[in-house]
Protein backbone atom coordinates (compact mmCIF):
# COMPACT_ATOMS: atom_id res chain seq x y z
CA UNK A 1 0.00 0.00 0.00
CA UNK A 2 0.99 3.63 -0.37
CA UNK A 3 0.42 4.49 3.28
CA UNK A 4 3.89 5.83 4.04
CA UNK A 5 3.07 7.17 7.49
CA UNK A 6 1.65 4.76 10.04
CA UNK A 7 -1.53 6.03 11.68
CA UNK A 8 -0.86 6.61 15.36
CA UNK A 9 -2.86 3.62 16.51
CA UNK A 10 0.07 1.69 17.96
CA UNK A 11 -1.28 -1.11 20.04
CA UNK A 12 0.40 -4.15 21.52
CA UNK A 13 -1.55 -7.24 22.40
CA UNK A 14 -2.69 -6.16 25.84
CA UNK A 15 -2.34 -2.42 25.56
CA UNK A 16 -0.68 0.70 24.21
CA UNK A 17 2.58 1.47 26.06
CA UNK A 18 1.54 5.13 26.04
CA UNK A 19 -1.27 4.07 28.35
CA UNK A 20 0.30 1.21 30.29
CA UNK A 21 3.48 3.13 31.13
CA UNK A 22 2.35 6.36 32.71
CA UNK A 23 4.02 9.37 31.04
CA UNK A 24 6.35 11.66 33.02
CA UNK A 25 3.71 14.36 33.09
CA UNK A 26 1.36 12.05 34.99
CA UNK A 27 3.98 11.19 37.58
CA UNK A 28 5.86 14.46 38.12
CA UNK A 29 5.47 18.11 39.01
CA UNK A 30 4.88 20.46 36.08
CA UNK A 31 6.23 23.89 35.20
CA UNK A 32 5.53 27.02 37.25
CA UNK A 33 3.12 29.64 35.87
CA UNK A 34 4.09 30.79 32.37
CA UNK A 35 2.86 34.35 33.15
CA UNK A 36 3.96 37.19 30.88
CA UNK A 37 2.93 36.59 27.29
CA UNK A 38 2.52 32.95 26.32
CA UNK A 39 3.47 31.06 23.20
CA UNK A 40 2.40 27.90 21.38
CA UNK A 41 3.56 24.38 22.17
CA UNK A 42 6.98 23.27 20.99
CA UNK A 43 5.13 20.60 19.00
CA UNK A 44 3.43 23.31 16.92
CA UNK A 45 6.69 24.52 15.36
CA UNK A 46 5.52 23.64 11.84
CA UNK A 47 2.60 26.06 12.09
CA UNK A 48 4.25 29.20 10.79
CA UNK A 49 3.79 32.03 8.32
CA UNK A 50 5.89 31.42 5.23
CA UNK A 51 7.11 33.11 2.08
CA UNK A 52 6.64 31.61 -1.34
CA UNK A 53 10.12 31.25 -2.82
CA UNK A 54 10.82 33.57 -5.74
CA UNK A 55 7.53 35.42 -5.46
CA UNK A 56 9.07 38.80 -4.60
CA UNK A 57 12.53 40.23 -5.06
CA UNK A 58 12.74 41.84 -1.62
CA UNK A 59 11.44 40.92 1.83
CA UNK A 60 10.15 44.45 2.44
CA UNK A 61 7.83 44.54 -0.58
CA UNK A 62 6.63 41.04 0.05
CA UNK A 63 4.13 38.62 1.54
CA UNK A 64 4.08 35.94 4.18
CA UNK A 65 1.20 33.48 4.02
CA UNK A 66 -0.96 32.19 6.89
CA UNK A 67 -0.90 28.39 7.41
CA UNK A 68 -4.60 27.82 6.72
CA UNK A 69 -4.02 24.07 6.46
CA UNK A 70 -3.36 23.94 10.20
CA UNK A 71 -6.01 26.34 11.47
CA UNK A 72 -9.42 25.82 13.10
CA UNK A 73 -12.60 27.86 13.38
CA UNK A 74 -12.57 31.40 12.02
CA UNK A 75 -10.24 33.43 14.24
CA UNK A 76 -6.66 33.87 13.00
CA UNK A 77 -4.22 33.96 15.90
CA UNK A 78 -2.46 37.30 15.47
CA UNK A 79 0.93 35.58 15.42
CA UNK A 80 -0.16 33.83 12.20
CA UNK A 81 -1.92 36.77 10.52
CA UNK A 82 -0.69 37.04 6.94
CA UNK A 83 1.68 39.90 6.13
CA UNK A 84 1.82 42.14 3.09
CA UNK A 85 4.26 45.01 3.17
CA UNK A 86 5.07 47.54 0.48
CA UNK A 87 8.02 49.19 2.18
CA UNK A 88 8.66 47.04 5.26
CA UNK A 89 6.99 47.19 8.66
CA UNK A 90 7.61 49.38 11.69
CA UNK A 91 6.90 49.31 15.37
CA UNK A 92 5.55 52.85 15.61
CA UNK A 93 5.62 54.65 18.97
CA UNK A 94 1.93 55.17 19.70
CA UNK A 95 2.52 58.16 21.96
CA UNK A 96 3.90 60.04 18.95
CA UNK A 97 1.44 58.80 16.37
CA UNK A 98 -1.12 61.30 15.08
CA UNK A 99 -4.23 60.94 12.95
CA UNK A 100 -5.30 63.82 10.73
CA UNK A 101 -8.50 64.53 8.82
CA UNK A 102 -8.45 67.15 6.06
CA UNK A 103 -9.95 67.97 2.68
CA UNK A 104 -13.65 68.73 2.30
CA UNK A 105 -14.23 69.32 6.01
CA UNK A 106 -15.22 72.38 8.06
CA UNK A 107 -12.05 72.17 10.11
CA UNK A 108 -9.19 69.79 9.61
CA UNK A 109 -8.53 67.82 12.79
CA UNK A 110 -5.68 66.11 14.61
CA UNK A 111 -6.17 63.26 17.09
CA UNK A 112 -3.73 61.50 19.38
CA UNK A 113 -4.05 57.77 20.09
CA UNK A 114 -5.15 58.71 23.61
CA UNK A 115 -8.02 60.68 22.17
CA UNK A 116 -9.05 58.09 19.60
CA UNK A 117 -9.13 55.44 22.29
CA UNK A 118 -11.48 57.54 24.40
CA UNK A 119 -14.15 57.61 21.70
CA UNK A 120 -16.98 55.06 21.46
CA UNK A 121 -15.52 51.99 19.78
CA UNK A 122 -17.07 48.94 18.18
CA UNK A 123 -15.63 45.42 17.92
CA UNK A 124 -16.41 43.34 14.86
CA UNK A 125 -15.23 40.10 13.30
CA UNK A 126 -14.13 40.53 9.68
CA UNK A 127 -11.98 38.72 7.18
CA UNK A 128 -9.16 40.48 5.40
CA UNK A 129 -7.96 39.09 2.09
CA UNK A 130 -5.27 40.46 -0.19
CA UNK A 131 -6.61 41.25 -3.65
CA UNK A 132 -3.74 39.15 -5.00
CA UNK A 133 -4.66 36.07 -2.95
CA UNK A 134 -4.68 33.01 -5.23
CA UNK A 135 -3.17 35.30 -7.87
CA UNK A 136 -0.37 32.86 -8.69
CA UNK A 137 -3.00 30.34 -9.81
CA UNK A 138 -4.77 32.35 -12.54
CA UNK A 139 -2.98 30.59 -15.36
CA UNK A 140 -2.22 27.20 -13.90
CA UNK A 141 -1.27 25.40 -10.72
CA UNK A 142 1.80 27.15 -9.33
CA UNK A 143 2.08 26.34 -5.63
CA UNK A 144 1.52 23.18 -3.61
CA UNK A 145 -0.51 24.02 -0.47
CA UNK A 146 -3.44 26.13 0.63
CA UNK A 147 -0.99 28.20 2.65
CA UNK A 148 0.33 29.51 -0.65
CA UNK A 149 -2.86 29.35 -2.72
CA UNK A 150 -5.15 31.05 -0.17
CA UNK A 151 -2.98 32.15 2.77
CA UNK A 152 -3.23 35.90 2.18
CA UNK A 153 -6.44 35.58 4.19
CA UNK A 154 -7.02 36.17 7.88
CA UNK A 155 -9.92 36.95 10.20
CA UNK A 156 -9.92 38.90 13.44
CA UNK A 157 -12.08 40.76 15.87
CA UNK A 158 -11.21 44.39 15.12
CA UNK A 159 -11.85 47.20 17.58
CA UNK A 160 -11.95 50.83 16.59
CA UNK A 161 -13.90 54.00 15.99
CA UNK A 162 -16.24 54.20 12.99
CA UNK A 163 -14.55 56.59 10.56
CA UNK A 164 -17.89 58.32 10.05
CA UNK A 165 -17.79 59.52 13.68
CA UNK A 166 -14.44 61.20 13.13
CA UNK A 167 -15.54 62.72 9.82
CA UNK A 168 -18.59 64.15 11.57
CA UNK A 169 -16.35 65.67 14.23
CA UNK A 170 -14.40 67.40 11.48
CA UNK A 171 -17.59 68.60 9.78
CA UNK A 172 -17.10 66.61 6.60
CA UNK A 173 -19.08 67.59 3.52
CA UNK A 174 -20.94 64.34 2.92
CA UNK A 175 -22.60 65.57 -0.25
CA UNK A 176 -19.58 66.77 -2.22
CA UNK A 177 -17.20 64.45 -0.45
CA UNK A 178 -17.94 61.20 -2.23
CA UNK A 179 -14.47 59.74 -1.73
CA UNK A 180 -11.89 59.49 0.95
CA UNK A 181 -8.15 59.01 0.66
CA UNK A 182 -6.56 56.94 3.41
CA UNK A 183 -2.82 57.36 3.91
CA UNK A 184 -0.26 55.46 5.99
CA UNK A 185 2.71 56.78 7.94
CA UNK A 186 5.28 54.26 6.70
CA UNK A 187 7.79 54.87 3.92
CA UNK A 188 5.35 53.84 1.21
CA UNK A 189 2.71 56.05 2.82
CA UNK A 190 0.26 53.64 1.26
CA UNK A 191 -2.73 55.45 -0.20
CA UNK A 192 -6.08 54.07 -1.28
CA UNK A 193 -9.43 55.62 -2.20
CA UNK A 194 -12.49 54.50 -0.21
CA UNK A 195 -15.96 55.45 -1.44
CA UNK A 196 -17.93 57.49 1.08
CA UNK A 197 -20.93 55.18 0.75
CA UNK A 198 -19.03 52.46 2.60
CA UNK A 199 -17.96 54.88 5.30
CA UNK A 200 -21.41 56.31 5.83
CA UNK A 201 -22.74 52.87 6.65
CA UNK A 202 -20.53 52.92 9.75
CA UNK A 203 -18.66 49.81 8.66
CA UNK A 204 -15.28 51.39 8.02
CA UNK A 205 -13.27 51.59 11.24
CA UNK A 206 -10.22 53.46 12.40
CA UNK A 207 -9.00 50.46 14.35
CA UNK A 208 -6.39 49.90 17.02
CA UNK A 209 -7.53 46.55 18.42
CA UNK A 210 -7.18 43.10 16.91
CA UNK A 211 -8.30 39.97 18.73
CA UNK A 212 -8.46 41.68 22.10
CA UNK A 213 -5.04 43.31 22.01
CA UNK A 214 -3.48 46.11 19.98
CA UNK A 215 -2.79 45.50 16.29
CA UNK A 216 0.51 43.77 15.68
CA UNK A 217 3.33 45.95 14.26
CA UNK A 218 3.34 43.99 11.00
CA UNK A 219 -0.41 44.61 10.72
CA UNK A 220 -0.29 48.38 11.22
CA UNK A 221 0.22 49.12 14.93
CA UNK A 222 -1.03 51.42 16.31
CA UNK A 223 -3.75 52.38 13.79
CA UNK A 224 -5.21 50.72 10.73
CA UNK A 225 -8.20 51.35 8.53
CA UNK A 226 -10.63 48.43 8.50
CA UNK A 227 -12.70 48.28 5.30
CA UNK A 228 -14.90 45.18 5.60
CA UNK A 229 -15.37 43.18 2.41
CA UNK A 230 -12.66 45.12 0.59
CA UNK A 231 -9.21 43.81 -0.32
CA UNK A 232 -6.43 44.18 2.22
CA UNK A 233 -4.46 46.92 0.48
CA UNK A 234 -7.26 49.35 1.32
CA UNK A 235 -6.91 48.53 5.02
CA UNK A 236 -4.19 51.16 5.26
CA UNK A 237 -1.67 50.40 8.00
CA UNK A 238 0.05 52.97 10.25
CA UNK A 239 -2.89 55.18 9.26
CA UNK A 240 -1.93 58.82 9.59
CA UNK A 241 -4.43 60.72 7.49
CA UNK A 242 -7.80 60.66 5.84
CA UNK A 243 -8.70 63.27 3.23
CA UNK A 244 -12.24 63.88 2.05
CA UNK A 245 -12.45 64.59 -1.69
CA UNK A 246 -14.80 64.70 -4.63
CA UNK A 247 -13.02 62.20 -6.84
CA UNK A 248 -10.88 59.06 -6.52
CA UNK A 249 -7.15 59.58 -6.15
CA UNK A 250 -5.58 57.23 -8.74
CA UNK A 251 -2.78 56.25 -6.39
CA UNK A 252 0.01 53.86 -7.38
CA UNK A 253 -1.74 50.89 -5.77
CA UNK A 254 -4.98 51.61 -7.61
CA UNK A 255 -3.49 52.57 -11.01
CA UNK A 256 -0.44 50.37 -11.47
CA UNK A 257 -1.18 47.52 -9.05
CA UNK A 258 -4.43 46.05 -7.79
CA UNK A 259 -5.85 46.67 -11.26
CA UNK A 260 -7.31 43.60 -12.95
CA UNK A 261 -6.16 42.89 -16.52
CA UNK A 262 -8.96 41.68 -18.77
CA UNK A 263 -8.40 39.61 -21.94
CA UNK A 264 -8.90 42.69 -24.16
CA UNK A 265 -5.97 44.46 -22.49
CA UNK A 266 -8.22 46.76 -20.46
CA UNK A 267 -7.54 47.05 -16.73
CA UNK A 268 -10.34 47.26 -14.23
CA UNK A 269 -9.47 50.02 -11.80
CA UNK A 270 -10.64 50.36 -8.19
CA UNK A 271 -11.59 46.72 -8.00
CA UNK A 272 -12.18 46.58 -4.28
CA UNK A 273 -14.85 44.13 -3.20
CA UNK A 274 -13.69 40.59 -2.56
CA UNK A 275 -16.28 38.40 -4.21
CA UNK A 276 -17.62 35.22 -2.66
CA UNK A 277 -15.01 32.50 -2.30
CA UNK A 278 -14.19 29.37 -0.36
CA UNK A 279 -11.44 26.81 0.08
CA UNK A 280 -11.20 23.40 1.68
CA UNK A 281 -8.35 23.59 4.19
CA UNK A 282 -8.41 19.99 5.37
CA UNK A 283 -7.58 17.82 3.60
CA UNK A 284 -5.69 20.11 1.27
CA UNK A 285 -2.69 20.23 -1.03
CA UNK A 286 0.56 18.85 0.32
CA UNK A 287 -1.19 16.76 2.95
CA UNK A 288 -1.34 13.00 3.21
CA UNK A 289 -4.28 10.94 4.42
CA UNK A 290 -2.95 8.41 6.91
CA UNK A 291 -5.64 5.83 6.36
CA UNK A 292 -8.98 5.11 4.72
CA UNK A 293 -12.15 5.76 6.65
CA UNK A 294 -13.96 8.76 8.03
CA UNK A 295 -12.77 12.34 7.48
CA UNK A 296 -14.42 15.66 8.15
CA UNK A 297 -13.77 17.87 5.13
CA UNK A 298 -13.57 21.42 6.45
CA UNK A 299 -12.74 24.81 5.08
CA UNK A 300 -13.48 28.50 4.99
CA UNK A 301 -15.99 30.57 3.01
CA UNK A 302 -16.40 34.34 2.81
CA UNK A 303 -17.92 37.13 0.80
CA UNK A 304 -17.16 40.83 0.58
CA UNK A 305 -20.84 41.43 -0.08
CA UNK A 306 -22.24 40.10 3.18
CA UNK A 307 -22.97 36.73 4.73
CA UNK A 308 -22.26 33.31 3.35
CA UNK A 309 -25.58 31.63 2.68
CA UNK A 310 -24.46 28.15 1.72
CA UNK A 311 -21.41 26.05 0.93
CA UNK A 312 -21.48 22.88 -1.16
CA UNK A 313 -18.77 20.26 -1.23
CA UNK A 314 -17.91 17.85 -4.04
CA UNK A 315 -15.53 14.89 -3.87
CA UNK A 316 -15.84 13.99 -7.56
CA UNK A 317 -14.42 17.11 -9.11
CA UNK A 318 -17.68 19.00 -9.37
CA UNK A 319 -20.12 16.47 -10.78
CA UNK A 320 -22.09 15.98 -7.57
CA UNK A 321 -22.37 18.26 -4.57
CA UNK A 322 -23.61 18.06 -0.98
CA UNK A 323 -24.52 21.00 1.27
CA UNK A 324 -21.92 21.48 4.02
CA UNK A 325 -22.69 22.36 7.62
CA UNK A 326 -21.94 25.99 8.50
CA UNK A 327 -20.54 26.86 11.91
CA UNK A 328 -22.37 29.64 13.72
CA UNK A 329 -22.20 32.57 14.09
CA UNK A 330 -22.36 33.35 10.37
CA UNK A 331 -21.32 37.01 10.28
CA UNK A 332 -21.24 39.56 7.50
CA UNK A 333 -17.91 40.00 5.67
CA UNK A 334 -16.38 37.45 7.97
CA UNK A 335 -15.00 33.96 7.52
CA UNK A 336 -17.47 31.10 7.91
CA UNK A 337 -16.19 27.63 8.76
CA UNK A 338 -17.91 24.77 6.95
CA UNK A 339 -17.59 21.02 7.25
CA UNK A 340 -18.88 17.95 5.50
CA UNK A 341 -18.61 14.23 6.36
CA UNK A 342 -16.60 11.99 4.05
CA UNK A 343 -15.59 8.35 4.15
CA UNK A 344 -12.52 7.83 2.01
CA UNK A 345 -12.56 4.47 0.27
CA UNK A 346 -8.94 4.68 -0.88
CA UNK A 347 -9.86 5.66 -4.45
CA UNK A 348 -8.68 8.85 -6.16
CA UNK A 349 -10.96 11.80 -5.49
CA UNK A 350 -11.13 15.50 -6.29
CA UNK A 351 -12.36 17.66 -3.43
CA UNK A 352 -13.92 21.07 -4.04
CA UNK A 353 -16.03 23.62 -2.21
CA UNK A 354 -18.41 26.19 -3.66
CA UNK A 355 -19.80 29.10 -1.66
CA UNK A 356 -22.97 31.09 -2.26
CA UNK A 357 -23.48 34.45 -0.54
CA UNK A 358 -26.59 36.27 0.59
CA UNK A 359 -26.80 38.18 -2.69
CA UNK A 360 -27.17 34.82 -4.46
CA UNK A 361 -23.72 35.08 -6.07
CA UNK A 362 -22.28 31.62 -6.72
CA UNK A 363 -18.53 31.03 -6.55
CA UNK A 364 -17.45 30.13 -10.11
CA UNK A 365 -15.20 27.34 -11.30
CA UNK A 366 -12.10 28.10 -13.36
CA UNK A 367 -13.90 27.58 -16.63
CA UNK A 368 -16.60 30.09 -15.75
CA UNK A 369 -14.19 32.61 -14.30
CA UNK A 370 -11.67 32.47 -17.14
CA UNK A 371 -14.41 32.69 -19.77
CA UNK A 372 -14.96 36.27 -18.63
CA UNK A 373 -11.65 37.35 -17.14
CA UNK A 374 -9.05 35.31 -18.97
CA UNK A 375 -5.94 34.08 -17.22
CA UNK A 376 -3.87 37.24 -16.78
CA UNK A 377 -5.54 39.23 -14.04
CA UNK A 378 -3.30 38.48 -11.01
CA UNK A 379 -6.05 39.84 -8.75
CA UNK A 380 -9.35 38.56 -7.42
CA UNK A 381 -9.09 34.92 -8.36
CA UNK A 382 -12.06 33.44 -6.51
CA UNK A 383 -12.35 30.24 -8.53
CA UNK A 384 -13.35 26.94 -6.94
CA UNK A 385 -10.22 25.22 -5.64
CA UNK A 386 -9.63 21.55 -6.42
CA UNK A 387 -7.55 19.14 -4.35
CA UNK A 388 -6.73 15.84 -5.92
CA UNK A 389 -6.53 12.89 -3.54
CA UNK A 390 -4.39 10.08 -4.91
CA UNK A 391 -4.76 6.42 -4.04
CA UNK A 392 -1.63 6.60 -1.90
CA UNK A 393 -3.22 9.28 0.26
CA UNK A 394 -1.28 12.23 -1.15
CA UNK A 395 -3.35 15.35 -1.73
CA UNK A 396 -2.30 17.66 -4.54
CA UNK A 397 -3.23 21.03 -5.87
CA UNK A 398 -4.92 20.49 -9.24
CA UNK A 399 -7.05 22.41 -11.66
CA UNK A 400 -9.80 20.62 -13.55
CA UNK A 401 -11.57 21.46 -16.78
Amino acid sequence: SGMAVAGARAQVADGDPNILNLPTHSTGLGQPLAEGYGKPSQFEGNVQRRRSPGLTQTTQASVSFAPLQSMFGIVTPSGLHFERHHQGWWDVDPSKHRFMINGLVKSPKVFTMDELMRLPAVSRFHFIECGANTGMEWGNVAVPTCQYTHGMLSCSEFTGVPLVTLLEMAGADFSKGQFVLAEGADGSSMTRTIPMSMIRSGEVLVAYGQNGEMLRPENGYPLRLVVPGVQGVSWVKYLRRVEVGDQPYATKDETVHYVDLMPDGMHRQYTSIQECKSVVTTPSGGQMLLDRGFYSITGLAWSGRGKVRRVDVSVDGGRNWRAAKLETPVLSKCLTRFSCDWVWDGQPAIIQSRAVDETGYVQPNYRQLRAVRGKGSIYHNNAIQSWGVEANGEVKNVQVG
Partner: protein, 227 residues
Protein backbone atom coordinates in the same frame (compact mmCIF):
# COMPACT_ATOMS: atom_id res chain seq x y z
CA UNK B 1 -23.16 64.05 19.68
CA UNK B 2 -20.23 66.04 20.93
CA UNK B 3 -17.11 64.56 22.38
CA UNK B 4 -15.75 67.27 24.66
CA UNK B 5 -12.00 67.25 25.10
CA UNK B 6 -11.23 65.05 22.11
CA UNK B 7 -9.38 66.16 19.01
CA UNK B 8 -8.33 69.64 18.00
CA UNK B 9 -8.10 71.68 14.81
CA UNK B 10 -5.08 70.97 12.65
CA UNK B 11 -2.86 73.96 11.92
CA UNK B 12 -2.19 74.98 8.31
CA UNK B 13 1.46 73.97 8.65
CA UNK B 14 0.45 70.55 9.91
CA UNK B 15 -1.88 69.98 6.96
CA UNK B 16 0.83 71.18 4.59
CA UNK B 17 3.36 68.77 6.13
CA UNK B 18 1.18 65.73 5.50
CA UNK B 19 -1.19 66.60 2.66
CA UNK B 20 1.15 65.47 -0.12
CA UNK B 21 -1.18 63.54 -2.40
CA UNK B 22 -1.46 64.50 -6.05
CA UNK B 23 -4.70 63.56 -7.72
CA UNK B 24 -5.44 62.64 -11.35
CA UNK B 25 -6.64 66.20 -11.96
CA UNK B 26 -3.31 67.43 -10.50
CA UNK B 27 -4.92 68.81 -7.36
CA UNK B 28 -2.10 68.77 -4.83
CA UNK B 29 0.69 69.13 -7.39
CA UNK B 30 3.19 71.76 -6.23
CA UNK B 31 4.37 74.27 -8.83
CA UNK B 32 7.83 73.54 -10.24
CA UNK B 33 9.66 71.75 -12.99
CA UNK B 34 12.46 69.34 -13.80
CA UNK B 35 14.23 68.38 -17.01
CA UNK B 36 14.96 64.96 -18.46
CA UNK B 37 18.66 65.78 -18.21
CA UNK B 38 18.41 66.64 -14.54
CA UNK B 39 16.29 63.55 -14.18
CA UNK B 40 19.00 61.35 -15.64
CA UNK B 41 21.48 62.80 -13.15
CA UNK B 42 19.23 62.13 -10.18
CA UNK B 43 18.28 58.76 -11.60
CA UNK B 44 21.82 57.57 -11.90
CA UNK B 45 22.66 58.83 -8.42
CA UNK B 46 19.57 57.69 -6.54
CA UNK B 47 17.49 55.25 -8.58
CA UNK B 48 19.54 53.24 -11.03
CA UNK B 49 21.13 51.03 -8.39
CA UNK B 50 17.77 49.33 -7.94
CA UNK B 51 15.85 49.94 -11.16
CA UNK B 52 18.76 49.80 -13.63
CA UNK B 53 20.05 52.68 -15.70
CA UNK B 54 17.13 52.32 -18.10
CA UNK B 55 14.49 51.34 -15.58
CA UNK B 56 14.76 47.85 -16.95
CA UNK B 57 16.08 45.94 -13.93
CA UNK B 58 14.22 43.01 -12.48
CA UNK B 59 16.60 42.67 -9.52
CA UNK B 60 14.90 44.65 -6.79
CA UNK B 61 11.53 45.20 -8.40
CA UNK B 62 9.76 44.58 -11.67
CA UNK B 63 10.94 46.63 -14.67
CA UNK B 64 9.50 50.12 -14.80
CA UNK B 65 9.95 50.72 -18.52
CA UNK B 66 9.40 48.64 -21.64
CA UNK B 67 6.52 47.15 -23.61
CA UNK B 68 5.07 50.42 -24.86
CA UNK B 69 5.21 51.76 -28.40
CA UNK B 70 4.82 55.01 -30.29
CA UNK B 71 1.45 53.71 -31.42
CA UNK B 72 0.38 53.28 -27.81
CA UNK B 73 1.27 56.93 -27.19
CA UNK B 74 -1.21 57.78 -29.94
CA UNK B 75 -4.03 55.45 -28.97
CA UNK B 76 -3.63 55.63 -25.21
CA UNK B 77 -3.93 51.85 -25.09
CA UNK B 78 -0.90 49.61 -24.61
CA UNK B 79 -1.31 46.95 -27.24
CA UNK B 80 0.97 44.40 -25.64
CA UNK B 81 -1.41 44.14 -22.68
CA UNK B 82 -3.84 42.28 -24.92
CA UNK B 83 -1.19 39.76 -25.96
CA UNK B 84 -0.99 36.55 -23.95
CA UNK B 85 2.61 35.95 -25.04
CA UNK B 86 4.11 39.18 -23.73
CA UNK B 87 6.62 38.33 -20.97
CA UNK B 88 5.90 40.88 -18.26
CA UNK B 89 4.02 44.03 -17.52
CA UNK B 90 6.05 47.10 -16.76
CA UNK B 91 4.89 50.07 -14.74
CA UNK B 92 4.82 52.19 -17.87
CA UNK B 93 2.59 49.69 -19.64
CA UNK B 94 -0.02 49.91 -16.90
CA UNK B 95 0.06 53.43 -15.53
CA UNK B 96 -2.88 55.50 -16.77
CA UNK B 97 -2.23 58.75 -14.90
CA UNK B 98 0.99 60.70 -14.92
CA UNK B 99 -0.02 62.13 -11.55
CA UNK B 100 0.36 58.62 -10.16
CA UNK B 101 4.05 58.53 -11.04
CA UNK B 102 4.67 61.98 -9.61
CA UNK B 103 2.75 61.25 -6.42
CA UNK B 104 4.37 57.88 -5.83
CA UNK B 105 7.95 58.96 -6.49
CA UNK B 106 7.36 61.92 -4.22
CA UNK B 107 5.95 59.89 -1.32
CA UNK B 108 7.87 56.63 -1.54
CA UNK B 109 11.09 56.86 -3.53
CA UNK B 110 13.94 56.31 -3.28
CA UNK B 111 12.99 53.09 -1.46
CA UNK B 112 15.38 53.59 1.46
CA UNK B 113 14.84 57.36 1.73
CA UNK B 114 11.25 58.13 0.86
CA UNK B 115 10.18 61.79 0.88
CA UNK B 116 13.78 62.97 0.55
CA UNK B 117 13.53 64.32 -3.01
CA UNK B 118 13.09 68.00 -3.84
CA UNK B 119 10.12 69.05 -5.95
CA UNK B 120 12.48 69.56 -8.87
CA UNK B 121 13.94 66.06 -8.44
CA UNK B 122 10.48 64.52 -8.53
CA UNK B 123 9.56 66.39 -11.72
CA UNK B 124 12.95 65.47 -13.20
CA UNK B 125 12.87 61.74 -12.45
CA UNK B 126 9.30 61.55 -13.67
CA UNK B 127 10.42 63.28 -16.87
CA UNK B 128 13.32 60.88 -17.19
CA UNK B 129 11.06 57.82 -16.91
CA UNK B 130 8.65 59.35 -19.43
CA UNK B 131 11.54 59.94 -21.77
CA UNK B 132 12.76 56.34 -21.40
CA UNK B 133 9.29 55.31 -22.55
CA UNK B 134 9.37 57.78 -25.45
CA UNK B 135 6.51 59.79 -24.06
CA UNK B 136 8.56 62.99 -23.95
CA UNK B 137 11.71 63.95 -25.85
CA UNK B 138 15.20 64.09 -24.30
CA UNK B 139 15.22 67.88 -24.07
CA UNK B 140 11.89 68.03 -22.26
CA UNK B 141 11.28 69.85 -19.01
CA UNK B 142 8.23 68.59 -17.13
CA UNK B 143 6.35 71.18 -15.10
CA UNK B 144 3.02 71.84 -13.45
CA UNK B 145 2.17 73.86 -16.57
CA UNK B 146 2.67 71.13 -19.17
CA UNK B 147 1.94 67.98 -17.19
CA UNK B 148 -1.67 68.01 -18.42
CA UNK B 149 -0.45 67.74 -21.99
CA UNK B 150 1.93 64.92 -21.08
CA UNK B 151 -1.03 63.05 -19.62
CA UNK B 152 -2.53 63.11 -23.12
CA UNK B 153 0.48 61.13 -24.39
CA UNK B 154 0.60 58.47 -21.64
CA UNK B 155 0.59 55.09 -23.42
CA UNK B 156 -2.10 53.48 -21.28
CA UNK B 157 -4.19 56.54 -20.46
CA UNK B 158 -7.28 54.96 -21.97
CA UNK B 159 -6.57 51.55 -20.55
CA UNK B 160 -8.57 51.70 -17.32
CA UNK B 161 -12.23 51.12 -16.65
CA UNK B 162 -14.38 51.48 -13.56
CA UNK B 163 -17.23 49.76 -15.28
CA UNK B 164 -17.35 46.65 -13.13
CA UNK B 165 -19.20 45.41 -10.07
CA UNK B 166 -16.20 45.36 -7.74
CA UNK B 167 -16.06 49.14 -7.34
CA UNK B 168 -18.53 49.77 -4.52
CA UNK B 169 -21.47 51.81 -5.67
CA UNK B 170 -21.01 50.79 -9.29
CA UNK B 171 -24.27 49.81 -10.97
CA UNK B 172 -22.59 47.37 -13.33
CA UNK B 173 -23.91 43.86 -12.73
CA UNK B 174 -21.62 41.07 -11.58
CA UNK B 175 -19.66 39.71 -14.57
CA UNK B 176 -19.19 36.04 -13.68
CA UNK B 177 -22.46 34.20 -13.22
CA UNK B 178 -22.26 30.61 -12.06
CA UNK B 179 -25.11 28.40 -10.94
CA UNK B 180 -25.16 25.98 -8.07
CA UNK B 181 -25.88 22.70 -9.84
CA UNK B 182 -26.06 19.80 -7.32
CA UNK B 183 -26.32 16.49 -9.21
CA UNK B 184 -24.72 15.17 -12.39
CA UNK B 185 -23.33 18.56 -13.22
CA UNK B 186 -21.51 19.28 -16.45
CA UNK B 187 -18.06 19.02 -14.94
CA UNK B 188 -15.25 17.39 -16.80
CA UNK B 189 -13.27 16.32 -13.78
CA UNK B 190 -10.13 16.02 -15.84
CA UNK B 191 -6.97 17.38 -14.30
CA UNK B 192 -5.76 20.16 -16.58
CA UNK B 193 -2.96 21.47 -14.40
CA UNK B 194 -0.85 20.13 -11.56
CA UNK B 195 2.67 20.63 -10.27
CA UNK B 196 5.22 18.46 -12.02
CA UNK B 197 6.83 15.83 -9.79
CA UNK B 198 10.23 17.50 -10.05
CA UNK B 199 8.75 20.57 -8.34
CA UNK B 200 7.46 18.54 -5.37
CA UNK B 201 10.00 20.07 -3.04
CA UNK B 202 10.15 23.56 -4.61
CA UNK B 203 8.38 25.12 -1.61
CA UNK B 204 10.46 23.15 0.89
CA UNK B 205 9.56 19.90 2.56
CA UNK B 206 5.81 19.99 3.10
CA UNK B 207 6.09 17.49 5.96
CA UNK B 208 7.64 20.35 7.92
CA UNK B 209 4.83 22.71 6.94
CA UNK B 210 2.03 20.72 8.51
CA UNK B 211 1.22 19.89 12.11
CA UNK B 212 2.76 16.58 13.17
CA UNK B 213 -0.52 15.38 14.60
CA UNK B 214 -4.09 15.50 13.34
CA UNK B 215 -6.26 14.21 10.55
CA UNK B 216 -3.39 14.45 8.05
CA UNK B 217 0.36 14.87 7.81
CA UNK B 218 2.35 16.91 5.36
CA UNK B 219 3.80 14.97 2.44
CA UNK B 220 7.48 14.23 2.91
CA UNK B 221 8.50 15.89 -0.35
CA UNK B 222 12.21 15.57 0.45
CA UNK B 223 11.78 11.91 -0.42
CA UNK B 224 10.71 12.28 -4.06
CA UNK B 225 7.40 11.18 -5.54
CA UNK B 226 5.90 7.85 -4.50
CA UNK B 227 5.74 5.13 -7.13
Amino acid sequence: AGFPGIGRDATPREVAAWDIDVRADFKGLPPGSGSVAKGQEVWEAKCASCHGVFGESNQVFNPLVGGTSADDVKTGRVASLARRDYPGRTTMMKVSQVSTLWDYINRAMPWTQPKSLTVEEVYATTAYLLNLADVVPSDFTLSDKNIGEVQQRLPNRNGMTRDHAMWPGSRTPVDVKATACMKNCAAEAVVTSALPDFARNAHGNLALQNRTVGAQRGIDTARGAAA
